[in-house]
């Protein structure tokens, strides 16, 4: 710690102190008391942020945003307006245009690039939420989805090889409140009560162009009152030491929940082209701070607090989930879930187990492959045998044919022979006759008295 050579060391978590330093008041009063030293030259670690920045830009960012609310509250339009892309377009309409009977969870991913920085944005939508006649437990699907993402991350974190660890946890949940002008509905309260410990909830007043400014103020106050009454913990903006930032944060806090209007249609107003909604009595501008709080939402969500949302998700909500999960397992000692077993062992044992698992997997694969191989071999043999039999048969047949032909030929030859013999016999006879005749002729020539 201080360069003293004294031993034995005493371990305070990760810092090793030697005995003499231990007694110094500065160290006894806790680690927070760091002595600030002035540098005598330029060292250069002020460049650290740049290095981090360069690395992160190369890696790109991920952000998962969940939108929850009844159908027809303008969620898809708002997403399109926020990110200035047509995530939901006429070809791929938003969930409200597709009627759903039960609550489902849908994910859409889009990769946005701006100024060399890449953002992989995942929008999780919940069509069917609050649309049925009986909406009890419509939040269960949402809770299950969030928990499953946490579990995936937990498992990925507990693996031995965790180079690729995609962060698909839900970083922020935008909850859309219908602009009734009265207060929260029982469904809103139930949902927020169940989800405020799992995800950052940012409540929004949807379709805020329904409300006049006075109604809007009253409505916001009513909602905040009810939120406090039911002890719902919505996302809290972090306190900063910076004057400017804290003023900004205060401004945002005063206007919670944000009343938003979404639109991507461009309309001409006083020669300016703005995004807005055209009514017979005027144009409600989306980016006008006096008309609605859209710009505040966008700045907060994207430009200033995106990283903070991710951090809170990681440090607070995820840790809550993790500790609850692990505590439950160690408390019960019985795992109901196959995956839970992985988490109770120390890293070494886990490595051992993973290795064993790996080996068994390999063995299994080998076996399987062998089986497959054998099967194939058998098949081939069978095929060969079949073709052999076939060939044999053909061979037999051909032999028979051949023999038949042979016989025929023999027959024919015999006949021919016979004929030949008979012909020869005949010839001989004829010859003999001729000979006899000629002899007779001779004889009769010589002895004419013998003929007649």
């Amino acid at each position: 710690c201080c360069g003293h050579e004294g031993w034995p060391p005493t371990c305070f978590s990760f810092v090793v102190f030697c005995q003499s330093c231990l007694l110094k008041p500065s160290t006894v009063f806790g680690f927070g008391l760091q002595q600030q030293k002035n540098l005598e030259g330029y060292v250069g670690f002020a460049n650290l942020p740049n290095q981090v920045y360069r690395k992160s830009v190369k890696r790109g960012f991920e952000f998962t945003l969940m939108v929850v609310g009844e159908s027809g509250l303008g969620k898809s339009t708002l997403i399109n307006s926020l990110f200035l892309t047509d995530l939901y377009s006429p070809e791929y309409p938003g969930p409200s245009n597709r009627i759903k009977k039960t609550v489902q969870v849908e994910q859409s991913k889009v990769l946005i690039k701006e100024g060399g920085v890449q953002l992989l944005l995942t929008i999780v939508d919940t069509p069917g939420f609050g649309d049925a006649v009986d909406n009890s437990n419509c939040w269960q699907t949402v809770i299950d989805h969030i928990d499953s993402k946490f579990e995936d991350y937990l498992n990925a974190e507990s693996l031995v090889n965790r180079r690729l660890m995609p962060d698909s946890r839900v970083h922020c949940c935008l909850y859309f409140i219908a602009p009734s002008g009265h207060g929260l509905k029982p469904l809103d309260i139930e949902f927020m009560k169940r989800l405020h410990e799992k995800v950052n909830i940012i409540p929004l007043i949807a379709k805020a162009d329904t409300l006049t400014p006075e109604e809007c103020q009253q409505f916001k106050k009513q909602i905040m009152r009810e939120i406090q009454e039911h002890k719902i913990k919505i996302y809290e903006f972090p306190e900063t030491d910076d004057e400017e930032e804290s003023k900004l944060v205060k401004k945002i806090k005063d206007r919670l929940p944000l009343a938003v209007v979404g639109s991507n249609t461009i309309i001409e107003v006083n020669g300016k082209r703005v995004r807005g909604r055209q009514y017979p009595w005027g144009v409600a501008e989306v980016e006008n701070g006096e008309h609605c709080d859209f710009t505040i939402l966008r700045n907060m969500l994207i430009r200033t607090h995106m990283q903070d949302l991710k951090d809170v998700t990681n440090n607070v909500h995820y840790e809550n989930y993790r500790s609850r999960k692990l505590a439950a397992v160690t408390y019960n000692g019985v795992d109901n879930n196959k995956n839970k077993g992985q988490l109770t062992k120390s890293p070494l044992a886990q490595m051992e187990e993973e290795r064993r698992e790996h080996v068994t997997k390999m063995k299994k694969m080998e076996m399987e492959m062998e089986q497959v191989f054998e099967m194939k071999v058998k098949e081939k043999i069978q095929k060969l045998r079949d073709s052999e039999a076939e060939l044999q048969r053909r061979h037999e047949q051909m032999k028979k044919n051949l023999e038949a032909q042979h016989k025929e030929l023999e027959e024919k030859r015999r006949q021919l022979e016979e004929e030949k013999v008979s012909w020869e016999a005949q010839q001989r006879m004829l010859e003999q006759q001729k000979l006899d005749a000629s002899r007779y002729a001779l004889v009769y020539k010589d002895t004419p008295e013998l003929c007649c």
Binding site: D131, A132, A178, S180, G183, D209
Partner: protein, 349 residues
């Protein structure tokens, strides 16, 4: 041999002849002014003296502007909210039926207007059967009227608490009807006159409005829901063409407001937003004036008649058939069965 025999006078048949055999009365020209047309004047005087009652029920989720709309329709603070309710009151756990009555007068004509509100409808997490309390209430009113009618000693003028018109508020999602809307209208369109309206329609731009209306009309047709004015009760061609025009424009996209603002040197009812003032009575902005003319200025009497002649009669027939005779559910006067054959209806104006 021919004899002049006076034709035998046939005895008159004991049973009165069927009406179709009676020749229609021949038109005869009047030779002078008799004064038959003053009957209209006489009726008017009578009506003004007795006044008449109208019961309107508003159904919809909380926050859709029902009470504001009723106030705007009758240009006075007649809704439940103005009498006792405060803005911060909690949503009730079950559907309640609250009715508030006022007597309003215009041009010498008195009207007892009853607004029946249904807080808690569609607000819970589980909204199964949230239309049952409403259905029960409507049938109870019919039952009350039936009992009075069937009484031996009838009142001269039976107080009419039956619901003449039910305004159903559709939430302006811009996409389609919600499952709850369809269920409610299916169950109640045969029992009461339903007029669907699109609430808070200043949320929708003109294109969205027309699209939404078309979708709603298509869905209502697909589910076989008949809203007022029902096609089957059109009496003649004139009625049909009038009602067709109205049916094309339904459901009305309305905006309600009870505050007045200055615009174009006039004081008009409207809603002031940072980008303009929504004028409630401007037909370009919303269809409130259409709804008001339709409901009050032209079809008010028809609403009452359809309720009395059709919905009430259906209920009555069902009750009488079910019980095989009228056994009033709870009555102090015993009912002899002969009374059920009395067919004449009390005259109503």
């Amino acid at each position: 041999m021919s004899e002049i025999v006076p034709p035998e006078v046939r005895p008159k048949p004991a049973v009165p002849a069927k009406p179709s055999h009676v020749a229609p009365p021949s038109r005869s020209a009047l030779l002078g002014y008799i004064g038959i047309d003053t009957i209209i004047e006489q009726m008017r005087k009578k009506t003004m003296k007795t006044g008449f009652d109208f019961n309107i029920m508003v159904v919809g989720q909380s926050g859709l502007g029902k009470s504001t709309l009723v106030n705007t329709l009758f240009k006075s603070q007649v809704s439940r909210r103005s009498t006792s309710w405060s803005r911060d009151e909690k949503i009730p756990k079950t559907v309640e039926i609250k009715s508030v009555s006022h007597v309003i007068e215009e041009g010498g004509v008195k009207m007892k207007l009853t607004v029946i509100d249904t807080p808690g409808f569609g607000d819970q997490i589980n909204n199964e059967n949230c239309w049952e309390p409403i259905s029960k209430y409507i049938n109870e009113q019919y039952e009350k009227f039936l009992k009075e009618e069937v009484n031996i000693a009838r009142k001269k003028r039976i107080p009419d608490t039956r619901v003449h018109c039910c305004l159903y508020f559709i939430s302006p999602t811009g996409h389609s009807l919600r499952q709850l809307d369809i269920e409610f209208m299916k169950h109640l369109s045969r029992v009461v006159n339903i007029i669907p309206v699109i609430a808070k329609s200043d949320t929708l731009t003109l294109d969205e409005k027309t699209e939404f209306k078309q979708k709603v009309r298509k869905e209502l047709e697909a589910c076989g829901i008949e809203c007022y004015p029902q096609k089957e009760f059109d009496e003649d061609m004139e009625d049909k063409s009038d009602n067709d025009k109205i049916r094309e424009a339904m459901p009305f996209a309305v905006v309600g407001s009870d505050k007045e603002y200055q615009a174009n040197a006039k004081r008009i009812l409207g809603r002031k937003t940072p980008w303009g003032v929504v004028e409630v009575e401007n037909p370009n902005h919303c269809e409130f004036s259409l709804l008001r003319d339709f409901m009050i200025r032209s079809h008010l009497q028809d609403l009452k008649e359809v309720t009395h002649n059709i919905h009430y009669e259906t209920y009555r027939a069902k009750r009488l058939n079910d019980n095989g005779g009228l056994h009033p559910i709870s009555s102090s006067v015993p009912m002899p069965i002969k009374h059920t054959q009395v067919m004449c209806k009390p005259t109503k104006f």
